[in-house]
Amino acid sequence: MPDHLRFLVNGEARSLEVEGRTLLVHALRDGLGLTGTHVGCDTSQCGACTVLVGGRAVKSCTMLALQAEGAEVTTIEGLANGGELHPIQRAFVEHHGLQCGFCTPGMILTASDLLSRDPDPDDATIRRSLRGNYCRCTGYDAIVNSIRVAGATLRAETAA
């Protein structure tokens, strides 16, 4: 028996018929076609499915779609402003924060949560925050650099 889900996705009101058991990641990918949210391990480990719910990073494979009723969800597709990349996305491009790119949407959204709480994190804090995001290209150094640079850019934008 399908239930009706209403939520805000990337700033747009969306509604969808889902089952009680439907996971948020499947509602986003299969229901709304937002395939930037990836399914990696599907066991709450790898963080490739990370999205923001109410501004906080969550693993969308470990949340029922119906638990997002009325919530504000941001996926990687919602981060860029029109054609202009978000500063975190830009930093990942400019500082080689990705190789194959599979983990990247999750990395960027986790970084977004971190930088919203702590605009100037040290490297140890950045690494701790990425504990739930795996990169199998072993690109962690470049990812940490990218997040550090993104933090500086965001601080400069806030100050301006």
């Binding site: 996971l23 066991t43 029922l64």
Partner: protein, 268 residues
């Protein structure tokens, strides 16, 4: 992995949640960070999920010389709650800040984890060492039981089928107290191979609880962790045989004691 078909209801009040739990195969859903993985593995196959995530059971409140930790308080909120900044209560935020990862801490809740009662989860040791009480609500009314009567075995608690954990009540320690939580984690799962929480009162009295080393978390009798652990029945597996775990438990217990002692000197 997709959970088996299940009906879902969003509880709009405590009473409505308890009503819904009249169904024999119903399960309570809070943050879902423990329940969703077992639903996906189909280890759990409830007929109905009662989502209590929207109930007003969230936050830390100081009331009549006691701290009320709402069952739906997520770990990230518990890790930064200003009411818990005292060295006497440091074990709570210290433990909450290390659970799972950022995403899990954003959604996972205090009450959900305690009610799930994984024998290797961290926070049970802390609530035991701090002498906390569990506040439970059923259609028959409210009752409170000591944390030491709550954990009965692996994934087994004193909660009856139509009962909800609503809060954890922690008595405010006297000035000059200290607490700490120290664990050694399994590197892949992050769960404790051995974890210990210690509380030191202003008179130097020690309370120590361990987790991850037996079928349930437990308080160590006496004040010498080595002696108490030598007499305890310790669990072993491929990751950590029983004798290794026993030794690990003693090490983390001593470290937690030292840390708690140092904190007691800073507490006022």
């Amino acid at each position: 992995m997709i959970p088996a078909a299940v009906r879902y209801v969003r509880a709009t009040s405590l009473a409505a949640a308890l009503d819904a739990l009249a169904e024999p195969e119903a399960r309570v859903l809070a943050g879902g960070q423990s329940l969703l993985p077992v639903l996906k593995l189909r280890v759990a196959r409830p007929s109905l999920l009662v989502d209590i995530g929207g109930l007003e059971l969230r936050g830390v409140e100081s009331r009549n010389g006691e701290l009320h930790l709402g069952a739906l308080t997520p770990w990230t909120e518990l890790a930064t709650a200003p009411e818990l900044l005292r060295p006497a209560l440091a074990a709570i935020s210290e433990c909450a800040a290390e659970i799972g990862d950022l995403q899990v801490r954003n959604r996972g809740t205090l009450g959900g984890s305690l009610a799930h009662a994984d024998p290797a989860s961290d926070m049970p040791a802390v609530v035991l060492a701090l002498g906390a009480r569990m506040q439970l609500r059923s259609p028959d009314g409210e009752r409170e039981i000591p944390a030491s009567d709550f954990f009965l075995g692996p994934f087994l608690t004193a909660l009856s089928a139509r009962e909800l954990l609503t809060a954890v009540v922690v008595p405010l320690p006297a000035p000059g107290s200290g607490s700490a939580y120290v664990s050694v984690e399994h590197p892949a799962s992050g769960f404790a191979l051995a974890g210990a929480a210690a509380f030191i009162g202003p008179d130097g009295g020690r309370t120590i609880a361990v987790t991850g080393v037996a079928d349930r978390p437990f308080l160590l009798p006496g004040s010498d962790p080595g002696e108490a652990l030598a007499a305890a029945e310790i669990y072993g597996d491929a990751a950590a045989p029983a004798e290794y775990r026993r030794q690990l438990a003693e090490v983390v217990a001593r470290r937690a004691l030292e840390l708690a002692e140092r904190r007691a000197k800073e507490d006022r």
